[in-house]
Amino acid sequence: MISRKSVEIWVGVFVAAGLFALGVLAFRVGNLTTADVVDGYQVEARFENIGSLKVKSPVTVAGVRIGRVAQISFDSDTYQARVVMNLDGRYKNLPTDTGASILTSGLLGEQYIELEPGGAEEYLKNGSRIKVTQSAMVLEKLVGRVMTTLIDRPAENNKKK
């Protein structure tokens, strides 16, 4: 029979190791350290097509993540997608004519929003709207456009003759 003291020590070690493992999972494996957006502000943008953008997709400026997509909805009046972004409060000086485009990281990677700061004097505030937007590239549309140009071109050449 082991003494009470050593049983307690072992159990203490066991519980501490278990909690440590949970901590490792939360902070090293999970995303708890990149604890999001400190006192953020929300900015809205409208896109013709958002591709496969999702809630929680990253929002970056110059490749650095400064926020996440907070909400995606469909506006049935303009037939556009309305995307609300939650931006980090530390980066408040984005000009009002900042442009937003939906890009893809890698060949098959996830889609994200890249903001390109403009030159206006005033800054984006909570609730303001980004007016210059560029939709996501949809592969099928892109292929379709290439195909039509390839087919049209010989036809034009024939006309010229």
């Binding site: 307690e8 159990v11 066991f14 519980v15 278990g18 493992a21 490792v24 939360a26 494996v29 999970g30």
Partner: protein
């Protein structure tokens, strides 16, 4: 007619056992407050079911992680996506393999021991002896074991996942040459604290309740002979493994459904 009767008897028996198990677990949980001033009883059982199970959990976690690293790399490299190896290893472990494999090992290592111990206590009339001394065996013997199992299971599952990720890193980064930065950053981008890690913890708590519950009930309900105890031990392992796998499907469906 006889076959029908046998089928009916089987269903009635199964339902009756299920009902008894539910009442028994209710008795265990509702009497557990008695343990507050006697917490050492629980600590002793955490030692028995947790600390002594630690080695097998750590070794299997390490090897499961290493195998995941090898297999995952082998497939991902075909798509040129071996940078996602960390994500693959971490998600598989945290969401599925950690809780499930830990629960299966736990049923085999700790559950069977619990059943055999309690069954033998019953067979040698130790439980009846306690009752003679006006000590309720359910709160004195069963409740500490049940609570210890529920405490130990999530901790073991967390250690399994953590060491599995390390195993995946050893194979992926050190052996197969995946970039260490990509390994960790893809993992951290893809693994969500709430959706993945917390749901894994919830799973392992549920499995802890189910496996330990089955183990203590089978022990307490065993026919008090040597054959009865061996059958009860057998049933513990079979039932709890089946319950874990079945519940895992239901829990996964619920967790994926809510998003």
């Amino acid at each position: 007619m006889n076959a029908l009767q046998a089928l009916g008897a089987m269903v009635v028996n199964a339902m009756e056992r299920l009902g008894r198990a539910a009442l028994f677990l209710y008795e265990v949980v509702s009497g557990a407050w008695v343990l507050v001033p006697r917490f050492y009883l629980v600590i002793q059982q955490v030692f028995a079911v947790g600390v002594l199970t630690l080695l097998i959990i750590l070794v299997s976690g390490l090897f499961v992680g290493m195998v995941l690293g090898l297999q995952g790399h082998n497939t991902l490299v075909k798509f040129g996506a071996e940078d996602s190896l960390g994500l693959l290893v971490a998600l598989s472990l945290v969401r599925e393999l950690g809780p499930v494999v830990t629960a299966l090992l736990f049923a085999g290592r700790a559950g069977s021991a619990l059943t055999a111990e309690i069954g033998l206590m019953k067979a040698t009339e130790q439980l009846a002896g306690m009752e003679m001394m006006a000590v309720n065996p359910v709160t004195r013997v069963i409740a500490p074991r049940f609570i210890a199992g529920v405490i130990a299971m999530p901790l073991l599952a967390a250690m399994f996942s953590a060491i599995g990720v390390m195993g995946g890193e050893i194979v992926g980064v050190n052996l197969l040459g995946v970039d260490s930065g990509a390994f960790w950053s893809q993992m951290q981008n893809g693994v969500d604290f709430h959706d993945d890690i917390l749901n894994g913890v919830i799973k392992s708590v549920v499995f802890g309740v189910v496996v330990t519950g089955i183990a203590v009930f089978e022990g307490y309900d065993a026919v008090p002979t040597s054959e009865g105890v061996s059958r009860a031990t057998n049933r513990t392992v079979v039932y709890s493994s089946l319950a874990v796998l079945g519940l895992d499907f239901i829990l996964t469906a619920l967790m994926l459904g809510e998003t």
